[in-house]
Subunit: 334 residues, 2 copies
């Protein structure tokens, strides 16, 4: 199996990406990584690394898309940027998937440009894994498609559900539609129409209906379906609330401890690690012909290695074949 890694993507430059690739090829026997970026710089970073011979390759890309750059503009000005080069490799069949910690918009624009979508998929969506009181859930979409059609949300339900089965090992994943109330008929036109589509689809047995914001972390469903605008707000809000509450815990709870303060500090550190995004291995861009995992911009080498691991599992488990089979079973109309 071959995966491309966008070496120049992310907030911290090439070093954590290259180190993550080394960790991954040492951990996964049948994996070859193509490091896509500035080749001379990449070779320097690899100089002292130890890894199985021939399992790391290079594809030169002289430049990259900055985290703050407008993706469509970047595509016009820098068609040879590292993330676009990754997509070319995928389109040419040179790799089975790609991993990037770079500009998320540019990852999506690269996908749309190469048009390597799965059969019957109208729009790719980004999924993310969240911890819940009952384990983990998947939220799709968290930002690829900020103004989707009902059909797109139905596709996200199918794709999230396959991902939950193949990657999280949930045999019969339940699905919920993010809304402002549980009752049928709640919300705006998009969710009302999407609700009806789910009810009429082959997913209806596992579709529990509308869910509310507070249901996500209670673990009400395995797959949360939402538009990319709401999903992106949800994703970043969770990060913000978690950070806020943990800071308050440090101040209000750890602050009053004396003899057991160190025990408390260690426990808080454990919690921070357990629920940190890096533990969840990146966010898959679902619907693309190939596996694509998007990582947090500030990913550590461990986070990059985890994301590569998820991509490898996606390829090995043939997630996309399963998605196509389920999508083809849906009614074709919008």
């Amino acid at each position: 199996m071959r995966l491309a890694l966008d070496v120049l993507g992310g907030d911290n430059g090439a070093a954590p990406n290259v180190a993550g690739a080394v960790l991954a090829v040492n951990a996964i026997p049948d994996l070859t990584i193509v490091l896509v970026g500035d080749q001379p710089q990449t070779e320097i970073l690899l100089a002292n690394a130890s890894f199985p011979a021939g399992r790391i390759e290079f594809a030169h890309a002289p430049t990259f898309v900055d985290m703050k750059e407008k993706p469509t503009e970047a595509l016009r000005k820098k068609p040879d940027a590292s993330i676009f080069r990754c997509w070319q490799l995928l389109a040419e069949g040179n790799v089975d998937g790609l991993v990037s910690a770079g500009n998320t918009g540019a990852v999506v624009v690269g996908a749309v440009k190469t048009r390597k979508f799965l059969k019957c998929i109208q729009k790719p969506g980004i999924a993310t894994i969240m911890p819940t009181a009952r384990g983990r859930c998947i939220i799709v979409d968290v930002g690829a498609n900020v103004f989707p059609k009902p059909r797109h949300l139905l596709e996200y339900g199918v794709m999230g559900s396959v991902f939950a089965r193949k990657i999280l090992g949930i045999a019969q994943p339940t699905l919920g539609l993010m809304n402002v109330g549980e009752e049928e008929g709640k919300g705006h036109e998009l969710v009302q129409k999407t609700y009806d589509l789910f009810r009429a689809s082959g997913l209806k047995e596992r579709f529990v209906g509308n869910i509310e914001g507070r249901d996500i972390h209670r673990g009400a469903v395995d797959v949360v379906v939402t538009d990319g605008f709401t999903g992106n707000v949800v994703l970043k809000l969770c990060e913000g609330v978690f950070e806020f509450v943990m800071n308050m815990v440090k101040q209000d709870v750890l602050g009053v401890l004396t003899t057991e303060r160190d025990t408390g500090i260690a426990a808080v550190k454990g919690m921070l690690g357990k629920y940190h995004y890096s533990a969840f291995g990146g966010a898959p861009l679902l619907g693309v012909d190939g596996v694509c995992i998007i990582c947090h911009g500030s990913s550590s080498e461990r986070a990059i290695a985890n994301a590569i691991g998820v991509a490898a599992t996606g390829v090995r488990e043939k997630v996309n074949d399963a998605i196509v089979a389920e999508i083809e079973a849906l009614p074709k109309d919008e």
Copy 2:
């Protein structure tokens, strides 16, 4: 000053409402409360209460809107339900404001039915107060208007800003537009057009631009403007994440303490109280001619009394006069 209280609204029946009213009239010297609900039942609940003579009145309403009922249907079937009777009292000029812990949709539908909107306001919006790392912020709208126009969001910015000034005492409140990224041009058409409206408005000096989900709790702005769909998800998600994290703290942090366990438990209880919704006195429905505060369905008597206190401050501080003055200063076009 006279305020109507929807005695039959909420998950826990009349008792916490009546007890909250008693607390409020004892605390606020110039306040008269009209208890709107089943009068015989209300009188029984008041039998042993102590409060200044003549400062509690009754308006009989034989029925109420259930928390799960569809608001428009309820209005058709039960025009004499307690919440609608509250709105009638407001429309007749009998009271200056109203407080309800009942079905939020019914509160909004009641407002729309009486059409007692403020001059120049096209749509009312619900505001909520959130704790942040730097104090408190206001989010508008959290559910009154799930598919707004840009002009509505501009009005929410004005109203939230006046509320922040008059009720939270923030002299020059800053405003941010909820979006999926900070850069101009991000998001769907609604937020793009709203961004331009703010930039061209009299609020432009205090409008910091787009904000992301993680910025809310960091205290990036004093007023967060968003559509009612996103805002409602945000509101309930915060509740869910807070609950989730605090449960993990109980398990992972308190669970490892021994000698200082009781100290830790007390500190966690303190945090739960400090950030509980009841500490923030309910959610104002802004844009209505009169003051309207919506409370959480499971409000305690303390939460009801706090909400009545906020309503009284809103009347006393002439929040609505200030809103009209600021709205009239805006450009009239959409």
